[in-house]
């Protein structure tokens, strides 16, 4: 199937090279799957959302003297454990993709399942952290630092939740055997989203917990 598509693309590419009407966009769409362009376009919009938020946070923090007293109350140990959990889930997600390439169906569903569990562990730790913070009296209205803290980690947790739903769906499909034959793209695109969520946390952790 892949080789047929590849050869069709190659034929189309060869004819477009001779076709004076062929545009750069035509060539681009032949070289890249439309789904891949779409997911990267979506991730680009996500970069702007988190990037804008992070930029505001950094600027406000500089403007308000660093918020060091407030930041001292955040539990960096829990943040570090959550970073380890998310980084490990990125590994299991890429191993699911790797197993697709090897056509190891059992491993695909196993790694997707582990990724979902690790995502849930991340949310569990985050919930515990929120509960502890709220019980200590640090609410989103306790000051600008806490407003940013809940906004940024909350938005990230929403993205983690969406990723868990997507991966759980893929896991269920893999168990039922309905993930194939478009498994390659499905797992790859879900993986791109999941790794992006990991990258965002890689920056949120030092911004909120270590500085």
């Amino acid at each position: 199937m892949g080789s047929i598509e590849l050869s069709a693309n190659a034929d189309a590419g060869a004819s477009s090279a001779r076709d004076p009407q062929s545009t750069g966009a035509d060539r681009l769409l032949r070289e890249l799957p439309i789904g891949k362009i779409a997911i990267w376009w979506f991730l680009a919009s996500e970069i702007m959302i988190f990037g804008g938020l992070i930029a505001c946070y950094v600027l406000m923090r500089i403007a308000h003297g660093g918020w060091e007293a407030e930041a001292a109350h955040v539990k960096w140990q829990l943040g570090a454990v959550n970073t380890l959990v998310l980084v490990t889930s990125s590994l299991t997600m890429i191993l699911a993709h790797y197993s697709v390439e090897r056509d190891d169906r059992g491993a695909v569903s196993r790694y997707l399942g582990i990724t979902v569990i690790l995502g849930l562990v991340f949310l569990g730790i985050k919930t515990f952290e929120y509960r502890t913070d709220l019980m200590e009296g640090f609410t989103p209205l306790s000051g600008m630092f806490w407003s940013f803290y809940y906004m940024m980690t909350g938005l990230h947790a929403l993205h983690v939740s969406a990723g868990i739903v997507i991966n759980a769906l893929l896991f269920a499909m893999a168990r039922r055997g309905t993930l194939w034959p478009r498994v390659q793209q499905r797992v790859e695109f879900a993986g791109l989203y999941w790794h992006f969520v990991d990258v965002v946390w890689i920056f949120l952790f030092p911004l909120l917990y270590l500085t």
Binding site: L32, W76, Y98, T211
Partner: protein, 93 residues
């Protein structure tokens, strides 16, 4: 098949590096260095970690130029936005 096997080793090696860098980032807090130096170290480490994920797990190292541009332009835009707003927000007391 050998290439696929090599990829697996690469993914696991990257994970070890990510864990090591996470520990290094946390350890910076205990270093007897100035606040500015600690911040520079912490964010350098975070940038390396993000680059590792983007390059190896998101396969940016083998992606087309178009995808790289799509990923890079918003990063440049929000960095530009932050720099442009520094005089108005961060330096306005």
């Amino acid at each position: 098949m050998e290439r696929v096997e090599q990829e697996r080793t690469e993914y696991i090696t990257v994970w070890f590096w990510l864990v090591a860098l996470l520990l290094a980032g946390v350890a910076v807090m205990a270093l007897p260095v100035s606040k500015l130096a600690a911040l520079a170290l912490i964010f350098s480490i975070a940038t390396i970690k993000a680059a590792l994920v983007l390059r190896n797990y998101m396969h940016l190292k083998s992606e087309s130029l178009f995808i790289m541009v799509v990923a890079l332009v918003p990063v440049l835009l929000f960095i530009g936005l932050a720099i442009a707003l520094i005089p108005d927000i961060a330096m306005h007391r």
